[in-house]
């Protein structure tokens, strides 16, 4: 009996180690030898399934664990996460609120709830949950990640870069943090800086690079010297760069045309050339990069 229990504990310890190393298949293999009357085994199985992107299986594992221990806060958290990743926000909310009922000062659960409501567009409530989580543990990585997510979803470009920098400063070896900073810098108009961050992330975690391959290619396109004028506009006017350019051109042509000057015609031609440049250059660069690959 004792030998069986020891074997079960060893299997769980081994699975835990594989999860730390992000070797989810191996973790599942190790868990298969565990005692499934133990809710911890189900928690580990749910974590491994989440790591493999098998969200339905993760949800099932968390539910089976909760049948054995309905007050298991971490299983409730995992259930909420699995449901969230499956797109079931209502079910995820029920689970995370049950977890928070057991421990209202659990930073990760507060942040997961914040992410849930933010993903539904309820930013005011997400900010309140973030403030609550910050009060409990201002140094938590989950707090920084939620801060960055809120900045990104609310189009706060400069703040998104700042919060991503904090994430990187906290853990420079974290590929996800480097990637987040890469996206934030690119979106603010600093594509070369973003590309460097993305390359760092790819070196730290090649699987992540495969997952975000298209973004990496797009950032390479935007980093090209031919895209310098567009980057400048993006830095100056953010997401409205294109419409601002058009408004300036239309306004300029209108006013100069009214003044009766020949310059309006020159401006029209210049603007047309600029439109053609913005339209043709990115696809050409994409094609050129694809050929070089």
């Amino acid at each position: 009996m004792s030998t069986q229990a020891d074997a079960g504990s060893a299997a769980l310890a081994l699975a835990e180690r594989f999860l730390e190393l992000e070797q989810y298949d191996r973790a599942l293999g190790a868990i298969a030898r565990a005692d499934f009357e133990d809710p911890e085994a189900w928690a580990l199985r749910a974590r491994a399934c989440l790591g493999l992107g098998r969200f339905d299986e993760a949800e099932r594992a968390a539910q089976l664990g909760l049948e054995r221990d309905p007050q298991h806060a971490f299983l409730l958290y995992l259930l909420a996460f699995a449901r969230y990743r499956s797109g079931n926000l209502a079910g995820a909310e029920q689970a995370v609120l049950a977890a928070l009922e057991l421990d209202a000062e659990w930073t990760e659960a507060l942040c997961l709830y914040g992410e849930l409501v933010a993903s539904a567009g309820q930013f005011a409530k997400a900010e309140r949950l973030l403030a609550e989580a910050e009060r409990v543990d201002p140094e938590s990585g989950a707090v920084l990640r939620l801060r960055h997510l809120l900045d990104t979803l609310q189009h706060k470009g400069e703040r998104a870069v700042e919060s991503a920098r904090e994430l990187v400063a906290r853990d420079p070896e974290n590929a996800h943090a480097q990637l987040a900073l890469g996206y934030a810098e690119r979106n603010r108009g600093d594509a070369p800086g973003g590309l460097e961050r993305m390359r760092t992330a790819a070196a730290l975690d090649p699987a992540l690079a495969t997952e975000h391959f298209e973004a990496l290619v797009e950032t390479r396109v935007q980093s090209h010297p031919l895209m310098l004028p567009m980057r400048g506009l993006q830095r100056a006017f953010g997401e409205h760069a294109q419409v601002v350019t058009w408004l300036i051109a239309v306004g300029g042509i209108t006013l100069l045309g009214r003044a009766g000057g020949e310059i309006a015609g020159t401006l029209s031609i210049g603007w047309l050339a600029f439109c053609l440049y913005t339209w043709i250059t990115p696809p050409l660069l994409r094609r050129w990069l694809a050929r070089r690959r």
Binding site: G87, L100, S119, Q122, R128, E218
Partner: protein
């Protein structure tokens, strides 16, 4: 109820599940710019409203988009009939003609900015919930956009013809 208790009240129970593939894919916000420029206020209003529905914008906000688009279109058609067409018909110089021709486009571009701001939160959430590159998650606007431009331009031409 304290403010902290209030924080733990469920607010997502009526939220629909995020069906990642079932909805019609929306159009890129950036692509709507050329619809505004070539099709005018009526075309961009129609495309923005349809896109808001595709993005799953809450009904109240979708109605604001519809109202803003409809209001701007009425103002534009009225200006066309009352001011622009009669002025062009009465024989103005080329500078004046440029001003009249481009004022409608500038108005449509400003309307585009407003309608874009009204769609952008839903667009950000849509992108957040989807994996894949832009070509996979967005629909091409070429066909519907060209049709909207034809209809918008046709309506403006009809308003001009009536004014004459």
């Amino acid at each position: 109820m304290s403010s902290r208790d209030d924080l733990f009240q469920p607010t997502l129970q009526d939220h629909p599940s995020i069906a990642r593939d079932s909805l019609a894919r929306p159009w890129r916000l950036g692509s709507q710019l050329w619809v505004a420029f070539f099709g005018g206020p009526l075309a961009i209003a129609g495309i923005a409203y349809l896109n808001a529905r595709r993005l799953g914008v809450p009904r109240r906000r979708a109605n604001v988009i519809l109202a803003a688009g409809a209001g701007a279109s009425i103002v534009y058609l009225a200006a066309l009939g009352v001011w622009i067409v009669p002025a062009l018909a009465s024989g103005v110089d080329s500078g004046e003609r440029t001003l009249l021709r481009y004022s409608g486009r500038a108005f449509a571009l400003l309307l585009y900015v407003v309608l874009r701001l009204l769609q952008r939160q839903a667009d950000a959430l849509y992108r957040f919930h989807r994996d894949g590159n832009e070509d996979e998650i967005y629909e091409s606007l070429w066909g519907p956009g060209a049709l909207a431009c034809l209809l918008g331009g046709g309506a403006a031409a009809a308003a001009g013809w009536l004014a004459e």
